[in-house]
Amino acid sequence: MPTTVSMTVNGKKVSGSVEPRTLLVQFIRETLGLTGTHVGCDTSQCGTCVVHVDGKSVKSCTMLAVQAEGSDVLTIEGLAKDGKLHPMQEAFREHHGLQCGFCTPGMVMSAVDLVKNNKNPSEHEIRDWLEGNLCRCTGYHNIVKAIAAGAKAMA
């Protein structure tokens, strides 16, 4: 039975009709047309769908849209402000932390959440934090470098 769900996404109040089985990522991609959040697996492991819900990173493929009712959601599209990249996005660009770009939105959203929790993460802590974000292109080398630099820039 379709129901209406309302939340704030990237600072804007939005609402839409969904089924209970509609995933948050489907609502974001299909209803809102924000296609920067991706789907790369069906077992909640790849992390290409990571967004922030009420300030915390979550896998939007493993949350129902109805569970996000009233929440504050931030997607990759909401990270840059006034046409200026977020320091973490800038660090990924500077350090070649992306290749095909598919894992990148989830990677960046996870990285931003890491720095919220740990202002000066070590290489080990960064690698550990990325357990839920798969990348097939970069071998993680430059992602790790980018996140370390992004953390410094966010300080």
Binding site: L64, Q67, N133
Partner: protein
Amino acid sequence: MYSFDYQKAGSVADAAKAATGEAKLVAGGMTLIPTLKLRLAQPSKLVDLGGIRDLVGIKAEGGGVTIGAMTTHAAVAKSADVKKAIPALAVLAEGIGDPAVRNRGTIGGSVANNDPAADYPAACVALGATIVTSKRKIAADDFFKGLFETALEAGEVITAVSFPAPEKANYQKFRNPASRYALVGVFVAKTKGGVRVAVTGAGEGGVFRKKSFEAALSKSFDAGALDAVKVDAKGLNSDIHASADYRAHLIKVMAKRAVQAAR
């Protein structure tokens, strides 16, 4: 996913009332939602516990901690009370899934699901925790009943898990390289009542106590005490990631490491 109805429960009583028939409770949903996505379950209704505030929070009580069922793994990992009373439990929570999973996944959901490779069941059993439900209090030893099976009855909702503080404890997990669940996880706790050792990930029937280890360690809480104890591979899982023999070997290695690291 198959189609289902959705209800956000306002209270534990609401949830208990709604969770009948083919309806299912959803806590963090970290296991349930992937299961639904693969169409491996077909509930008529999901009853969401996410709105019940009473179920969230950690209380330090009598030296131990009581953790509300809807408390996330991330919150347990960060909790100063948990770190003080049972540091091993905070470390265990920090090692569940990945950060995004820890932000949604809850202790109540994990315990109710009783995945045979999950971490919390080992902690509950080794620490002698009490599972508090809408109806009663259940000792961990009586709660976990086999693969994905628990003592929970229909309409019974976990509200909290109480952990008494051990003298020393530690959890060592050897991760499945792919899923990152425990291939073998061993929780060792030295408590006033003796040593308790619980093993997850390895057993065909889910979490189990390793009584022979407990006996040896109760005599002498030293890794060397386990040297002479044989681990039988019978009853252990064998799959593409590890044979039963290897799991048996790892149980001892992990247990020894846990004893060495216990504090």
